[in-house]
Symmetry: C2
């Protein structure tokens, strides 16, 4: 059943090989001062930086730079970005990069004019935004988080060992996002496959919840099948435009609120993954891949019907002559084989997790209520332990 | 491959049993003068009219009524609506009804302040809107057209025997739409199943085009499977909320531009159906159902791979030991059986089409270029004739 909800997603998407031209249509809508936000500088090597600077100059913009956004943006970096945004009297934040850069841009957009400590107000206390919001536009160079078309923003506080995501409303969603699949060709393989699994996890965490008959579950099965097909092509040939364009579009729709509307969702894997991230600073998608199979095997008995459906509809398991449990298990085994084939990290030891961290990671994990089993602290420790080598 | 495109859909959706409350959030955003647009008055019998009037009064609105919108809104009615909108100095058009009422509201919204004949400018010449647009909000009471979340508007000119749809841009899309599945419970069965097939046809006409590997095709397979399942439930029990809510949501996403992005589309069935509609004033969805099987059987050899995929992925045809053609044909046979089971009109004679109209209907049919075969005039006559009893 499609339950009660409000759907509103005003982000305008420019997609394709020529999509950077969308900047010329968007920039005139905003004031003069642009905060150009990016990461470690790879955009300077591949030419995207120069292209963007050219367009910004053509549009007579004043450019303020905020570089060095790290893969898991920190609260200290956020404070720095807020200072820059206020000093520059910024009219538009232009994020050029992957999900971390987009997340960070949204964090600065709500925090720059916040009168309190934004970490406390917007992340620890998860309050609604009641101050001026600086509009954000994105040029995406890495695929996975879906940050380009949602209100989500994850910030890490290493001192507090907390990595917290706040899903802000439509007024914080990017005004526009530019999605050029060519920009994703040069991502290193490790980051590429981590992004692939981030997408898959977004879909699975919305799929494995509820026992109703819900259109969104059918849509997610379609997205998953297309994702599995295209990632297999992309791992063989990362420059296959067809595969990379499909993956880019799936990533956006996996987390722009659409497939969650009218249904319950889980998100426990992300909660565990984020807690691991706070302890290890490991790549987000790999924290998810390392705990997914242990997690799904653990909760499978509590959502057997859905795991059976998943096996048949997504992994083409032939159900003839098998018990529901056998079918469901076979589905997860095929998923595991696929993940190994993709080169994903399958255990948390490889991410730097030590035995003595398990209790802390479990304690730092938010317990969600939408999955097939509400986990206890001991459940999480058990799941983590079965992901140790 | 997901090709080049711009995606932007600003319509805000309020969905569910309590969704009419969304009106209270939306109305304060607009001026005082509301043009309340509706059809034959069924909303007065089922209480929706009274509920809306109460909310409009609570919000201190001045109400101007424009009732009597017919199933295929005519150009004469459009001229009348334009007069009312101008005389009332209307700030918001509130459409309460099905697709025809929403289509009509959008036609008035772009035409009221048009200095020329809007039929000629916006329908015959398909020009862009360059005059003031009156914002539109919708309360949907019938499901099928997707008009609640797109810029489409079909107007019929009986004198010219032309039924023409213009797909306007994002600035003409409804600002908000209220989708309450309960409102669809009382639709007469004939209109209900016609709406069901309208939805199916929207998806199929975007699916049966192109030979690339495209994520949208996977999504459409999911939508079709959910639609087939839920319509079978709804035909047995029209008051099954789960089924009706799924169908309502599928209808919206079948034609809000999403599944067409980055791929080619066909739309020839709609072109033939609209030409039949101009001759017979038959129910839109039934004109589509009456020509679909003849059309798809005719073009199947030109798009065999896709019809094979359709048979397997949507209709669960077992491909073992069969030729591609056998698989494809079996898929269309299962679709035909389903359509008969649903009580859809399977031939155009039943809609009042006579042998002597065939040439005229064919001549009045726009020829689209995105399908697996570009039809000739004779092809259309042949398809129409095989739909005669």
């Amino acid at each position: 059943m499609i339950g009660n909800f409000i759907y509103s997603n005003p982000t305008k998407i420019y997609f394709g090989k020529e999509s950077l031209n969308g900047l010329r249509e968007e920039l005139p809508k905003y004031g003069k001062n642009i905060l150009l936000v990016y990461g470690g500088g790879s955009i300077k090597k591949n030419g995207i930086y120069d292209e963007i600077i050219t367009i910004l100059n053509e549009c007579n913009k004043e450019i303020f730079e905020d570089a060095g956004v790290m893969p898991n943006p920190t609260v200290e970096k956020l404070y720095e970005g807020c200072r820059r945004a206020k000093e520059g009297n910024i009219d538009l934040i232009l994020a050029v990069g992957g999900g971390s850069v987009c997340d960070y841009a949204k964090a600065v957009s709500v925090s720059a004019h916040c009168m309190e400590d934004p970490w406390e107000k917007y992340y620890l206390r998860m309050e609604d935004v009641d101050n001026k919001i600086i509009p954000v536009g994105c040029v995406l160079t890495m695929v996975g988080t879906g940050s380009e078309m949602n209100g989500g923003s994850v910030i890490t506080n290493h001192k507090q060992k907390r990595k917290i995501g706040h899903v802000f409303g439509e007024n914080v969603m990017p005004k526009f996002s530019i999605l050029n699949p060519l920009y994703t060709f040069t991502i290193p393989k490790y980051q590429m496959v981590a992004g692939f699994f981030d997408i898959m996890s977004h879909i699975l965490e919305q799929y494995f919840s509820g026992n109703d008959d819900n259109t969104s579950d059918y849509i997610m099965e379609g997205l998953l099948k297309s994702l599995i097909h295209s990632t297999k092509v992309a791992i063989e040939n990362p420059k296959d435009y067809e595969a990379r364009s499909n993956i880019m579009w799936i990533a956006t729709w996996a987390l722009n609120t659409f497939i969650a509307k009218g249904k319950t969702t889980d998100w426990e894997v992300h909660m565990i993954g984020q807690s691991i991230g706070a302890y290890t600073d490991a790549t987000h998608g790999m924290t998810l891949s390392a705990v997914s199979i242990p997690y799904y095997r653990f909760i499978m008995p509590y959502g057997l019907e859905k795991f059976k459906r998943y096996a048949i509809n997504v992994w083409n398991v032939n159900p003839n002559g098998k018990t529901d449990e056998q079918i469901a298990k076979e589905g997860l085994s095929r998923m595991e084989e696929y993940m190994i084939e993709m080169g994903l990290v399958m255990n948390i030891s490889e991410l730097g997790v030590k035995e003595e961290m398990l209790e802390g990671i479990a304690s730092g994990t938010f317990i969600m209520k939408g999955g097939y089993k509400i986990l206890t602290h001991d459940d999480i420790v058990k799941i983590l332990r079965s992901s140790m080598k």
